[in-house]
């Protein structure tokens, strides 16, 4: 009997030890590497300069991010990822996060001091200060900028990084810059763009321009609805817009601070954007579009990018709003050709929306999207290895390698020094699934390279730049206000408590029965018990009086 119990006990102990060991690093360096694989030679540039650096110790680096695809094998998959894992002698332990759980998972991991080695974090200032104060984020060594100069240079471009560093007295967060060497405008503005059916607009006699007011866009939608130039019938949606995009089209185009922004008025006192009359203007246009049936009667029930699909997959929409970079245009072109048999150039016109005052409205965007954070318990070796990789990725000369693959295999320079893709109809991210978004967004985001990436049509790239420039030209300091770092980096209990979902808040107001203006005023009044304390604090701290 005793022997039986001993056997059970030993079995349990063995299983437990096995489970503990499963997540650890391999016993032998290079255990999972693929020594037999023939990886193409890397591109030139920083790689050659770093040639002397060798990584003897094999590491396992855990990464939690929305910018990875869990179906991709990042260790033994394509040649691109093999090149990285062999060069830096490591293997990934990738934890793919979906968008809906991204923030909460990381929040739980960070607070329970159980975060992976590296994570992509959607920065929140209140939380950041909290984490820094508690030592829940790794503090980069003071000399990191000298050791990893490419990361340091891009970090300066992120605007947020240096500002936060000054406040926190050290570097804890590396914001990923959207633009670094190539910047389309002095201040960064959003790139979301309206895609119109050019052929339908021409059929109903609607003038094609680079920008429209909401009133003009609604006029287009009315014409489409009345005349149905595409013979779509009952399924026709003049403007396909999920609540997020409806907020962009109708409200943010008119109200600069609609998304809860606090700003200084002419007297130097802080005000709250959603309580402004221009927010009401946007809401009224939104409601008008809904009541006239110019947006889907069930726009609130769209999931994912259903609205965009109505434009480029089912072809029932007269207009939609989506990303305005060359990649999105390419995706739209491909989808329309595959699904509808239509040529993009014949049927699509891109434009943006301005306010009823003729100005482009948007606060200056801080030049970053998401941040890199490290576990406070990350080993020095892993941290340095990851920083080496980021530094390689952030160098100007490796930009092309990162997004287009191997020189001589996937691309080459022509006699004029221009980059020419050798991939024909495909792109590097299709040939090497690991490229996008894992390596591609390792530090500097791909937006910048999309402006010069020859994989995308020149017409698209030029169009993106043109729209950026026009937006910027149509704004001024009042409608494209500079970042107010006082507000941005202010943290207090009252401010941290604000948790509005603007997409839903405005959609609810539009859908609410009764008079919109009365409902909006009541809603603004109801929020005052949360908002007034923040305004009082900001005025006391930074206000004019």
């Amino acid at each position: 009997m005793k022997r039986k119990w001993m056997a059970v006990f030993l079995a349990v102990v063995t299983l437990a030890l096995g489970a503990c060991g499963a997540k650890g690093e391999p016993d032998q360096p290079g255990q999972t590497g693929n020594a037999d694989s023939e990886t193409p030679a890397p591109t030139g540039g920083a790689d050659e300069d770093e040639g002397e650096k060798e990584y003897a110790e094999h590491l396992v680096i855990s990464l939690a991010s929305v910018q990875v695809n869990e179906s991709v094998d990042y260790n033994n998959g394509d040649e691109f990822t093999k090149w990285w894992t062999e060069k830096y002698n490591f293997e990934w332990d990738v934890i793919g996060l979906s968008w809906d759980v991204w923030a909460e998972r990381l929040r739980v991991w960070i607070n329970s001091e159980d975060m992976p080695d590296v994570a992509t974090w959607d920065y929140n200032h209140g939380e950041a200060m909290n984490y820094i104060e508690q030592g829940l984020l790794y503090r980069l060594p003071d000399d990191w900028k000298e050791r990893w100069p490419n990361v340091a240079a891009a970090y300066e471009d992120s605007q947020l990084g240096p500002a936060l560093e000054e406040m926190a007295g050290g570097t804890y967060i590396l914001p990923k810059p959207i633009f670094s060497t190539v910047k389309p405008t002095e201040k960064v503005v959003p790139h979301v763009t309206v895609y119109l059916r050019k052929d339908w607009a021409e059929a109903v006699g609607f003038e094609l321009k680079d920008y429209y007011t909401v009133t003009e866009l609604l006029e287009y939608a009315r014409l489409i609805k009345e005349q149905d130039p595409g013979n779509v019938g009952a399924a026709l949606v003049p403007i396909a817009a999920r609540p997020e995009m409806a907020l962009n089209i109708f409200i943010k185009s008119n109200a600069t601070y609609a998304e809860g922004g606090f700003y200084k008025d002419a007297d130097g006192n802080y005000q709250w954007g959603p309580a402004n009359e221009d927010t009401l203007t946007g809401l009224q246009l939104y409601k008008q579009a809904f009541e006239e049936g110019l947006i889907s009667p069930e726009f609130y029930a769209y999931t994912g990018t259903d609205d965009n699909a109505q434009f480029y997959v089912t072809g029932v929409a007269g207009a939609t709003m989506m990303q305005g970079m060359a990649g999105a245009m390419t995706q739209c072109e491909t989808s329309m050709r595959d699904n509808l048999g239509l040529e993009y150039d014949d049927v699509v016109h891109t434009c943006f929306i301005i306010g009823e005052d003729g100005k482009y409205h948007s606060p200056e965007q801080i030049n970053y999207w998401t941040t890199v954070i490290f576990s406070p318990s990350i080993s020095q070796e892993k941290f340095e290895r990851y920083m080496d990789m980021m530094d390689f990725a952030a160098s100007e000369e490796n930009n092309v390698f990162l997004r287009m693959g191997f020189e001589g295999v996937d691309w080459e320079y022509d006699e004029n020094g221009e980059i020419v893709s050798l991939l024909g109809d495909t792109v590097a991210s299709e040939k090497y699934p690991s490229v996008y978004p894992c390596y591609d967004a390792m530090y500097i985001l791909a937006d910048e390279f999309q402006l010069i990436n020859p994989s995308y049509r020149k017409e698209f790239r030029d169009r993106v730049v043109k729209l950026y420039e026009e937006k910027y030209a149509l704004g001024d300091e009042a409608t494209i206000p500079s970042i107010d770092w006082d507000v941005q980096l202010y943290s207090s209990d009252a401010k941290n408590k604000l948790s509005y979902n603007w997409i839903n808040e405005y959609a609810e107001l539009v859908l609410e029965e009764g008079d919109l203006e009365t409902n909006w005023r009541n809603w603004v009044d109801e929020q005052q018990y949360l908002i007034s304390p923040v305004i009082d604090e900001l005025n006391a701290e930074f206000g004019g009086n």
Binding site: Q134, A235, P243, P297, E298, Y300, S499, E508
Partner: protein
């Protein structure tokens, strides 16, 4: 012999039963009672680096903030409204289904029906919500059928007045069959002699159902009702979270949605979130005791006999 010694001897005598019970006791201890220590967070300013025990005490600060929050009171009111109605509307359905199943004489047909009724329980709310979105959309099958008969399109998904009834209907569809299993088990334990005696007395099937079956399962019904009443403040998160949209969000922001929002969609304040959870648990406890006492008052069984 001392009391303790007697107890020990009794336990030793029935050691096999206690060994079988041990895993469940350990599970309860580890996963239910030990985490209760975390409740102290409701009175602390939680700092992860200091841990639960090391974080500084804040007294009733979180409760003061909580009771000042209008969103909190609205969500409490909504939770009570939705779940009290849910209890009244959905609770009798499994009982009725069990009574009807019991009357079926064709065993094969009964089994098929039971499977059909039980199956939805195994679907997650996210699946049900997406099916509903497709079925009830403007261009969904239901509106198409209405259209075929010349009716106007009905806005099912964005109608606030329809949202709560839809919660109850989908809840019944998903859970009633599963819920009936426990009553069927209770029915199977009824002494058959009672039915035989009723047959001799010439009782109809309806009379047997109402005078024999129903009274016999009433103790089970009472216990299930008390347990359901004790969960009123915490019911329905998965369902509402998946079925809600911007048009009906206000109708569905129950207390658990509020907790989710303040914990996971805002700068987290775990002490504050714990204060809300503690409040919710206390209300649930009060409701449980009220239901228990109410059941005894009306001559029924309480939770503890």
């Amino acid at each position: 012999m001392g009391k303790g010694k007697r107890l020990f001897r009794r336990i030793w005598k029935n050691k096999t039963i206690y060994i079988v019970l041990l895993p469940a006791l350990l599970w309860y201890l580890i996963f239910v009672y030990v985490p209760m220590g975390g409740l102290m967070l409701a009175f602390k300013d939680y700092k992860a680096n200091l841990g639960i025990l090391g974080s500084p005490w804040t007294g009733l600060k979180h409760f003061e903030n909580l009771f000042r929050d209008m969103d909190f009171w609205q969500s409490v009111g909504r939770t009570l409204k939705i779940n009290v109605i849910r209890l009244l509307v959905t609770f009798p359905v499994p009982v009725i289904i069990a009574l009807l199943f019991n009357e079926l004489r064709m065993r094969k047909y009964k089994k098929v029906l039971q499977t059909v009724f039980t199956f939805p329980h195994f679907l997650s709310w996210i699946i049900i919500a997406s099916v509903l979105r497709n079925v009830l959309a403007y261009d969904g099958i239901v509106n198409s059928i209405i259209g075929l008969f010349g009716g106007d399109v009905v806005n099912f998904l964005g109608n606030k007045r329809m949202f709560q009834p839809m919660l109850y209907l989908t809840d019944i569809w998903k859970e009633a069959g599963w819920g009936s299993i426990i009553y069927l088990a209770a029915i199977s334990g009824i002494d058959q002699e009672q039915y035989e005696a009723a047959d001799i007395d010439g009782a109809s099937r309806l009379q047997k159902m109402l005078r024999i079956t129903l009274p016999n399962i009433m103790p089970t019904v009472a216990v299930m009702f008390i347990l359901a009443a004790g969960g009123i403040m915490g019911a329905g998160f998965d369902q509402i979270f998946n079925m809600t949209n911007a048009a009906v969000r206000e109708s569905g922001e129950i207390l658990d949605m509020y907790i989710y929002r303040i914990t996971f969609q805002a700068t987290p304040d775990f002490g504050f979130s714990m204060a809300v959870s503690l409040f919710r648990s206390i209300v649930n406890m009060v409701l449980l005791v009220i239901a228990d006492r109410g059941s005894r008052l009306f001559g029924g069984n309480g939770l503890f006999g």
